[in-house]
């Protein structure tokens, strides 16, 4: 595996190249994940024996496009504030960061926007439009995008997409046409163990992972990420997914909290569809 690692523990970031011009910038803790993340895997495994009880780590992903223009997707979280700046200096060298695209304003995605702007004062911050009161989210001078907007980076052409699964209202997804790169943000969040850090999904298979495991994991984790699914209709959800997959030719599935899927994409997308159907009818065990 070709990964360059910066920092350690809660500061740690690993960088891998997905294509010659797209980098995966991934925070996960590794060895001490259980300690820092409260050992949640054991809880999930109690409900569903298909879940790995040692999978206590969650990815927080950023992506960097290095075309004629450079674009960074999200900023990682507070504990990675120094490491992300080091990673960006290393990858960008003398180049400027032209665009910082914020998927949504939660701290794990947007916390380091100010620090990154200090390092690259000329960058254009981009957030989703259609709302008011941006100043309370720290986005008062962001360029506001509409769903359907396009942005040319050079060879890469970005399209802004309306999310089908979202938590925060100020959420947008992103698709790149040349590579079929989709960033569906929080959708398909999964967990992994310390031996699976920074692996592409196809490399996960050597550790016993599979589309089947992915389906089981996501059907549990996405009840937590999108708790509103319990009020939805499983057939409508499946229809929305089908329409989405029919519209976008997805060749790189690059979510915020998932290993990057670059091979066998159709098998993982089919697993994801089934996972969401199951999530709708799962037992949410809520405390009212």
């Amino acid at each position: 595996m070709n990964v360059k690692i910066y920092g350690e523990g809660i500061n740690r970031i690993g960088v891998r190249q997905i294509t010659p011009q797209i980098y995966w910038i991934c925070h996960c803790i590794g060895k001490d994940a259980e300690k820092h993340n409260g050992g949640f895997a054991a809880d999930f495994a109690r409900i569903n024996p298909n879940i790995d009880p040692t999978a206590n780590d969650i990815n927080y992903n950023s992506y960097l496009f290095m075309d004629e223009k450079t674009l960074l997707i999200d900023t990682l979280g507070p504990a990675q504030h120094n490491t992300i700046l080091e990673v960006l200096s290393d990858l960008l060298g003398e180049r400027q960061l032209d665009y910082l695209w914020i998927s949504h304003t939660e701290l794990p995605h947007a916390a380091n926007a100010t620090a990154i702007r200090r390092q690259y004062p000329d960058l254009q911050l981009m957030a989703v439009g259609g709302h008011d009161h941006y100043e309370i989210h720290g986005l008062e001078d962001a360029l506001l995008l509409d769903y359907g907007d396009e942005l040319k980076l050079g060879e890469h052409e970005i399209e802004i997409i309306k999310p089908i699964f979202l938590d925060h209202a100020l959420t947008q997804w992103l698709y790149e046409r040349k590579t079929g790169f989709l960033c569906p943000v929080d959708w398909a969040l999964m967990a992994q163990n310390e031996h699976q850090s920074f692996l592409f999904m196809d490399e996960m298979e050597a550790t016993g992972y599979s589309p089947e495991r992915f389906m089981h994991d996501v059907s549990i984790t996405n009840c937590v990420v999108f708790a509103w699914l319990r009020w939805a209709d499983p057939d409508q959800i499946a229809e929305a997914i089908d329409a989405f997959f029919a519209k976008y030719d997805i060749r790189i599935f690059a979510a915020s909290h998932t290993q990057v899927i670059r091979k066998d994409v159709p098998a993982y997308l089919a697993a994801l569809r089934e996972a969401m159907r199951r999530a709708v009818t799962a037992d949410y065990n809520l405390v009212y």
Binding site: A79, T105, I136, W228, V287
Partner: protein, 247 residues
């Protein structure tokens, strides 16, 4: 702006206003709690000056004991740094679903954070606060808190409403006919973008379970004023708004 709600419970925090004149409140609720003050959410960074002045006036010599966070996005935590600068010993109570290294500011020390599990009830100074899963939320790891002494339910984003500037300082019982359905609809429609994809009846049934489980005298939303005059009437109005937005 300091407003007295009931007993020892106060509301502070300002509002943001858009070009059309609609306001979004960002409130902090403060229970004086016999010298161990409790804060519910921390307010917006854009209102720092007024919040800190109001807090100092309200608290006098007492330092806040605990700050309860409904969730960690900026409108709820943006003013934390100012509070911690003034009172470095303050502790935080967050949901057990929070991962602090990505969801709390990096300068908050691990020993300052206490975790609450949904279903738990703990003592803080002279009162009991119980915790439940947030039923309507925009971020995983969101919790609702219930103050057993005043019967106040702190609901974070849920039960918020947008309002014209004239209503900025009014509780429901200070408005002519309380908070209109339209104000709730405007807020819930823009804050919870998933609602058009779900069944309104199911959402309403979940909210009813929350209300049936405890005697709620006050609903304290972060993005609205406390609802203290007629809770059942306003729950019915939120339900009506949900019926309009959901399937």
């Amino acid at each position: 702006m300091i407003k007295h709600i009931v007993d020892d419970l106060y509301q502070i925090g300002e509002s943001a206003i858009d070009q059309d004149g609609w306001c979004e409140a960002v409130r902090i609720y403060v229970a004086l709690n016999d010298g161990h003050p409790l804060l519910f959410d921390a307010g917006s960074h854009i209102h720092r000056g007024q919040i800190m002045a109001d807090l100092k006036e309200l608290l006098g010599d007492a330092a806040p004991g605990h700050i309860f966070l409904t969730h960690t996005e900026l409108p709820h935590t943006g003013n934390l740094s100012a509070i911690l600068e003034a009172w470095p010993g303050t502790k935080f109570v967050v949901s057990s679903g929070i991962l602090p290294h990505v969801e709390m500011p990096w300068w908050v020390k691990p020993e300052q954070i206490e975790y609450a599990h949904a279903g738990a009830c703990h003592s803080y100074g002279s009162r009991q606060v119980s915790f439940s899963d947030a039923i309507l939320k925009d971020q995983p790891g969101t919790q609702w808190m219930f103050d057993e002494r005043t019967g106040s339910l702190f609901t974070g984003d849920a039960f918020g409403y947008l309002f014209p500037e004239a209503c900025d300082r009014q509780f429901d019982d200070e408005m002519a006919d309380g908070v209109p359905v339209d104000y709730f609809r405007r807020y819930h429609e823009s804050a919870f973008r998933f609602l058009p994809m779900v069944s309104g009846d199911k959402v309403k049934a979940d909210l009813a379970k929350v209300m049936a489980k405890r005697q709620v005298n006050v609903i304290a939303p972060t993005h609205g004023n406390a609802i203290r005059g007629d809770v059942p009437k306003h729950v019915a109005r939120v339900n009506e708004a949900l019926s309009e937005i959901c399937q």
